[in-house]
């Protein structure tokens, strides 16, 4: 192994790997061997992966070696990245952790995957999730639940639980998730890592299997802010194949962060009053107050803001998301691809019924039913219609709060990682756990999950920093200031 190799558990950052690979101080094959070995030791214990094959990694490695020789511009040269299994990859299955798509291989790469490959990253495998990204615990998976590396009796959060757990266990320095109502931020908090949910429209959804199209957004996981910025720089930007994608200049936030001197003078940060109400775990409250103090010390001005309509966010979200999902999942009918029943059928309708009954899990069926109901004639106005009104109100109040403050601060979840099975039969409690994150998706805002402490069971706590639309750079800078001054992510590691 090369001298000064960063290839020790929890020592390698994506940034360091790519710069050493580019300079020739580190061979791609060494990086790959290190992470293949870790994956072999750990992945099965936490059940983080849905797909991982040495052969596919080797093919990519050889390809990359050629490109390195050709001196191509490769900002992520040799960086292993894991991809949530609802993001399409042309050389690996894309299952959405559903029996419905267990043998599905897309004939194309998602836009983000193509960008990552172009930047020199190695798609290291696909990660577990709640089926079709519907859930907050990664327990609703045809591959079985993913376990939290900090405590194997607990959930890693969801729906991007596999990506979060894998990065927390250093099976890759970075990973992709998707966030429809908190599916990046909450697992990041439960697993003690960083997660970014970008502004709606900054990252192309082309190739992301739709759950709720108006809320879905792909984003990165990392163990430090610079790595998070590195991935975000690569995957964000306009894509003509996604009509909701915004036209943006390419960013190089990562470069700027490396040289950044922490200074939050004049920055106004608002604590969202409604999200510190009763029901919040006291250790989470304490950790965030402590983080607020740290930010104050860096020059920020901390104040309280109010978003009263947040009380409608859970019902609004679960009507809009399920309504959209009921249409988005209609294509899984067993006709062209995906699961088709092997039972004898009496009619076309029967074929649909049996295929969908067998192919979808319980939570997915529940949400399809809920969404179908919300859009039914005679109920549309009272449910879907009202929910979209509430959504506009929530977005309006968020934007007003973001006039008073540059950033908003809140917990990511009211609790730390809960136990496997603890909420699986109580969907309402599970849904209510999403209260801190849903509003951000309804308003289309960018938000970060930042590790900010541990509870008394040594479980990670995360805080959420929310920014104005397209303020990713400032959001990352602020988090970087906090990271530099506190540096929590280096202090403890899960003992696996």
């Amino acid at each position: 192994m090369t001298q000064n190799s960063p290839l020790q558990p929890y020592q390698a950052s994506a940034l360091k790997i790519s710069s050493m690979v580019r300079s020739g101080d580190l061979a791609v094959s060494e990086v790959v061997a290190f992470y293949l070995n870790r994956t072999k030791q750990i992945a099965d214990r936490i059940n983080s992966h849905t797909y991982h094959q040495v052969k596919s990694v080797e093919i990519q490695t050889r390809e990359l070696e050629k490109r390195l020789l050709a001196r191509e511009h490769l900002p992520m040269a040799g960086v292993p990245i894991l991809v949530k299994d609802n993001i399409c990859t042309r050389d690996m299955p894309t299952t959405c952790a559903s029996k419905m798509l267990e043998n599905f291989r897309p004939p194309f790469d998602a836009h983000v995957v193509a960008r990552l490959r172009h930047a020199g990253a190695i798609i290291f495998g696909k990660t577990n999730l709640d089926e079709f990204a519907m859930g907050s615990s990664s327990e609703n998976s045809s591959f079985g639940p993913t376990l939290n590396p900090w405590d194997l009796t607990r959930v890693p959060g969801g729906s991007s639980g596999g990506s979060a757990a894998a990065v927390a266990a250093d099976l890759a320095p970075v990973a992709l998730g998707s966030d429809t109502g908190g599916s990046i931020r909450q697992p990041a908090a439960f697993c003690g890592i960083y997660g970014l949910k970008p502004t709606y429209g900054t990252v192309s959804r082309f190739g992301l299997v739709s759950y709720a199209s108006s809320l879905d957004q792909i984003g990165p996981f990392a163990r430090d802010i610079c790595d998070l910025a590195l991935v975000h720089d690569v995957i964000s930007g306009h894509d003509p194949r996604d009509s909701t994608s915004r036209v943006l200049d390419s960013t190089n936030v990562c470069e700027e962060l490396i040289r950044y001197e922490p200074n939050l003078n004049g920055t106004k940060i608002g604590l969202i009053k409604e999200l510190f109400a009763t029901g919040l775990d006291t250790s989470i409250n304490a950790a965030i107050q402590e983080a607020a103090d740290a930010l104050r010390k860096l020059g920020a001005e901390i104040r309280e803001v109010s978003i009263p309509s947040l009380k409608y966010s859970v019902s609004s979200y679960y009507l809009i998301a399920t309504a959209e999902a009921s249409a988005n999942l209609a294509r899984y009918d067993g006709i062209r691809y995906g699961h088709r029943t092997q039972e004898p059928v009496t009619s076309l309708k029967d074929l649909y019924k049996k295929s969908r009954q067998e192919g979808f899990g319980r939570e997915v069926k529940q949400r399809i039913m809920l969404g179908t109901f919300a859009l039914s004639s005679g109920y549309y106005d009272a449910y879907y219609g009202k929910a979209t009104q509430a959504r506009r109100l929530i977005a309006h109040e968020f934007n007003k709060a973001l006039e008073e403050a540059d950033f908003l601060l809140s917990p990511v979840a009211p609790t730390t990682a809960f136990r496997l099975g603890e909420k699986i039969n109580d969907p309402l409690t599970m849904y209510l756990g999403d209260i801190c994150t849903l509003g951000v998706n309804l308003a289309g805002l960018p938000a970060l999950s930042v590790p900010c402490g541990w509870d008394k069971s040594n479980l990670p706590i995360g805080m959420q920093i929310i920014g104005r639309p397209l303020s990713e750079k400032n959001l990352l800078t602020t988090a970087r200031a906090y990271e530099r001054s506190v540096g929590l992510h280096l202090q403890r590691q899960p003992s696996l």
């Binding site: 399409c88 897309p106 190739g207 194949r241 996604d242 009509s243 249409a327 209609a330 294509r331």
Partner: protein, 479 residues
Amino acid sequence: MQFEPIIGLEVHCQLATNSKLFCACSTVFGADANHQVCEVCLGMPGTLPVLNKTAVHYAIKLAIAVGGRINEQSTFARKQYFYPDLPKGYQITQFEQPYCEGGVVQVDKETRVELIRIHIEEDAGKNVHARDSSHIDYNRAGMPLVEIVSKPTIRSAAEAAAYLRSLRSLVRHLGISDGNLEEGSFRCDANVSLKPVGSSVLGTRCEIKNLNSFRYVERAINFEIERQRELIINGMPVIQQTLLFDAELGRTIPMRSKEESHDYRYFPDPDLPFLRISKERIKTITAALPELPLAMASRIAEQYTLPDHDAHLLTQDKVVAHYFEQVVLACENSVSSKIVANWVIGEVIPLASEQNWNMSNPVIPYESLAGLLKLIGIGTVSSKIAKVVFEEMVKSGENPALIVDKLGLVQVSDEGAIAKIVDQVIEENPEQVTQYLSGKDKVLGFFVGQIMRASKGKMNPGLVNSILLKKLDQRREHN
């Protein structure tokens, strides 16, 4: 009791874009099954629609041409139902906010049909049933359509067909659709109900789906009117249902009843932003709009002093109208424009339709037809002989003067030669001469026929007439 039919039509017109409405797949008709598909129009997981700008441009042209109100902001919606030919489980269409509302299709100077709305939507694929298996062809899935919904103000099957013809002519004039009924790029559903004359209470309506020829539209509507009349007269209820027209049986047959009708659960498609059409854009497109059929018909009637009927026939197809105008110009006043019109309407249009000519590049180019008509104008051939030459032109593609030469068809205008034949025919038919002299003018036709036959039609008919009359009248004097 007297009943009045209430008819409303929904027309699906395929826009003549090169690619589909939401992906880059080709729209060319007739490809092998499932050869014009991609991950987007197959509705694969993770794919997203991107709106075809040309399709919107074409749709705007239509909206302007019918004088519809174009909404500055309209939305795409998902219409949800399960069917194998519908890859996503929903069709992307416009529901609550279509891009165009209102508008009028002018059928002729007196008749107009008002529209409720026009909206943009994607087509579905096609189920193909074999004896013991079913197959799906997705080539048509995602084809760009406009649906044109008329008010239920049409009162007869004939009027419905006339409206459809005008609408088809309009979209072809605009160059936004080939309006091809056989290939399914122009399809029609008809809503038919009856109401007692003078009453304001509407009857129960039935919808006849997928009428793919003007003739079927008329037959289906007429059948349906009679069917409903029979039911009502016999005190039976008309059941609201969707029908298909069986052309072989010549009758409508039920497809599904109202109880089986879907709840489509329309809602705005979150994958597509609002469709915005600015006033400036409308202005620009308006300025570049071609002459519309009715305006063109009145201009042509006036400019070429033609009857309205002729002008109407000439302007059914913009390319034909253009052809007519080119022929007139090329004839350089050697024949009247009425004669040109007669030739285009009587010879060219029927032949073009029978032989499926591409009128932009017709088998008889305008110069050739003009060349032939000029020969009539200067008396080289008669109209009758000209038709023989025309047929030969179609067959051989040679130029008319050459054909006249080769076949020796030059008209005989030598009075002496004509007189000789006339004398001969008069001599051979003394009986008919007696008849003529006793006042039976009708036998003149017989003489002309005999003379023409004897000369193989080449005699100048004007001269034949005058010489024949002169010679016969001479006989009268002799008697």
